[in-house]
């Protein structure tokens, strides 16, 4: 049986596709920024705050890293209302993705922070910097540069993982594909197109990160290493 591709069958649904693409892109941009900022805070507190704070955050990180993302998402969207916390689907998606990315990134970042040379910290301290000042101005950028490739991959994984938010009725790219194939029965074309779009998003995201990295870590270009 031959397959006849008919991409023109998708053309009436361009609006739905764009709407889904828009949601996926915005959701990814917002959660990437929020997740990384949260990771910076979590990584610092895990290493510097009181023991019980460190343990609580360690619990959060392990909980996220050892449970499926879709369960985390369902818990936030379907579980929390039982406690009287009712949030809409897009907010639940934003929360789940941010918490997920922050946990993984905090753990990745921690490796970068812990590999900071002791001399760097001593120099900062001898100059009168507090541990927070030294984290912000001395530790953070070199730590990021050491773990940057792993961090890029993690952000892309979360972007791709965002496909499951369609399961709680967020109108993202995957939701659009489901919607279209349920109308025109062209599931092969719909999913093929959406697969390609995800691929392009991942490539574009990686390139954007690499470009930002070249600016952020410009100091490394002179290194003899």
């Amino acid at each position: 049986m031959g397959i006849s591709l008919d991409f023109m069958a998708l053309s009436p649904y361009l609006g739905e596709l764009l709407r889904g693409l828009f949601t996926t892109v915005v959701l990814t941009m917002v959660t990437t920024l929020a997740g990384l900022m949260l990771a910076i805070v979590v990584a610092y507190l895990r290493l510097n705050a009181a023991a019980w704070v460190g343990m609580a955050l360690g619990g959060y990180v392990e909980l996220i890293r050892n449970t499926p993302f879709i369960v985390q998402l369902f818990f936030i969207f379907f579980g929390l209302p039982a406690l009287g916390i009712r949030i809409d689907a897009i907010t639940a998606a934003f929360l789940a993705m941010t918490l997920n990315l922050a946990a993984y990134s905090a753990e990745i970042l921690r490796a970068g922070i812990e590999s900071t040379a002791r001399g760097q910290l001593e120099a900062a301290r001898a100059l009168g910097m507090s541990s927070l000042q030294s984290y912000r101005h001395v530790v953070l950028i070199p730590a990021f540069s050491r773990i940057y490739p792993a961090l890029i991959s993690q952000c892309i994984i979360v972007m791709l993982g965002s496909a499951v938010v369609s399961q709680i009725s967020v109108y993202d790219l995957t939701y659009a594909a489901n919607f279209i194939q349920s109308r025109n029965f062209r599931s092969f074309e719909a999913y093929l197109l959406v697969t390609l779009i995800y691929l392009l998003l991942a490539i574009g995201m990686r390139q954007t990160f690499l470009l930002a990295g070249r600016r952020l870590f410009a100091y490394r270009q002179g290194e003899h290493a």
């Binding site: 040379a117 001399g119 760097q120 001593e122 120099a123 900062a124 301290r125 001898a126 100059l127 009168g128 910097m129 507090s130 000042q133 101005h137 001395v138 950028i141 070199p142 540069s145 870590f217 100091y219 490394r220 002179g222 290194e223 003899h224």
Partner: protein
């Protein structure tokens, strides 16, 4: 005028007692070179003076300020004391200028333009002004160490601690760093140096302190100390290095 006053200083790392009661007074403008075998406690003494190591017993007073890392912020601790390290420890992601301007702006809250003027001034003093926009990785070891000295000077310390600042340098780069220190000494900066450069200690220091097994074993003006050592330990040390 006594600037640094150390009394009966004790410091242990676990079971190992590294400082066993050190008394040391340093006058304002004095240049003190601390020599001794590795493990004699000289670096530990220096690191106690800015509380990178917290002492277990005894007292340290610098410019009338009692040092106690537990009771002071890093900012308090850095007010009077600057430090230069063996391995430079410049911040690799910051330019030479930013390395020097960072602590004045972040710790002291100095205005950016004022900090830049200050940075240019101290960098000029160490002969590194033309590298203002370079990154540390683009500099030689000697140049990096001169920037590190400028970075410490930008915080306007009353005393500058130098922990084997030429030990990580190629021999041909040692001179440029020592010349900077010599010029600082001439200007009246109080310097306490742990050093293996005996010629420098001999020529520039006002006083040489020989440490042995966690105590100050012998001290005096360099000529007396090097030419007429009294204790057998110092005699042995001097003959071993010459």
């Amino acid at each position: 005028m006594t600037l640094v006053c150390v009394k009966d200083l004790h410091k242990s790392f676990g079971e190992l007692e590294v400082l066993k009661g050190v008394d040391l007074d340093v006058a304002s403008g004095e240049v003190v070179a601390i020599i001794g075998r590795s493990g004699s406690g000289k670096s530990t003494l220096l690191r106690c003076l800015n509380q990178l190591e917290q002492h277990d017993g005894g007292t340290i007073e610098i410019a009338g300020q009692h040092l106690d890392a537990g009771a002071m912020t890093p900012n308090d601790l850095s007010r009077n004391v600057g430090m230069v390290f063996q391995s430079f420890n410049l911040f690799p992601h910051k330019t030479v200028g930013d390395n020097v301007m960072l602590a004045p702006t972040v710790v002291r809250g100095v205005d950016k333009t004022v900090a830049e003027r200050l940075a240019r001034e101290v960098l000029d003093k160490v002969g590194m002004l033309e590298k203002f926009d370079a990154y540390p990785a683009q500099l030689s070891g000697g140049q990096q160490q001169r920037v590190a000295i400028a970075r410490a000077l930008a915080m306007n310390p009353k005393v500058l601690l130098c922990d084997e600042v030429t030990s990580a340098l190629d021999p041909e780069l040692v001179g440029e760093v020592l010349r900077v220190l010599e010029a600082l000494a001439k200007e009246g900066m109080t310097l306490i140096l742990v050093t293996h450069e005996m010629k420098f200690a001999h020529d520039v220091a006002d006083r040489v302190v020989f440490m042995h097994q966690g105590r100050i074993h012998e001290q005096g003006p360099p000529r007396t100390l090097f030419e007429h050592p009294e204790t057998s330990e110092l005699k042995q040390f001097i003959s071993a290095i010459l």
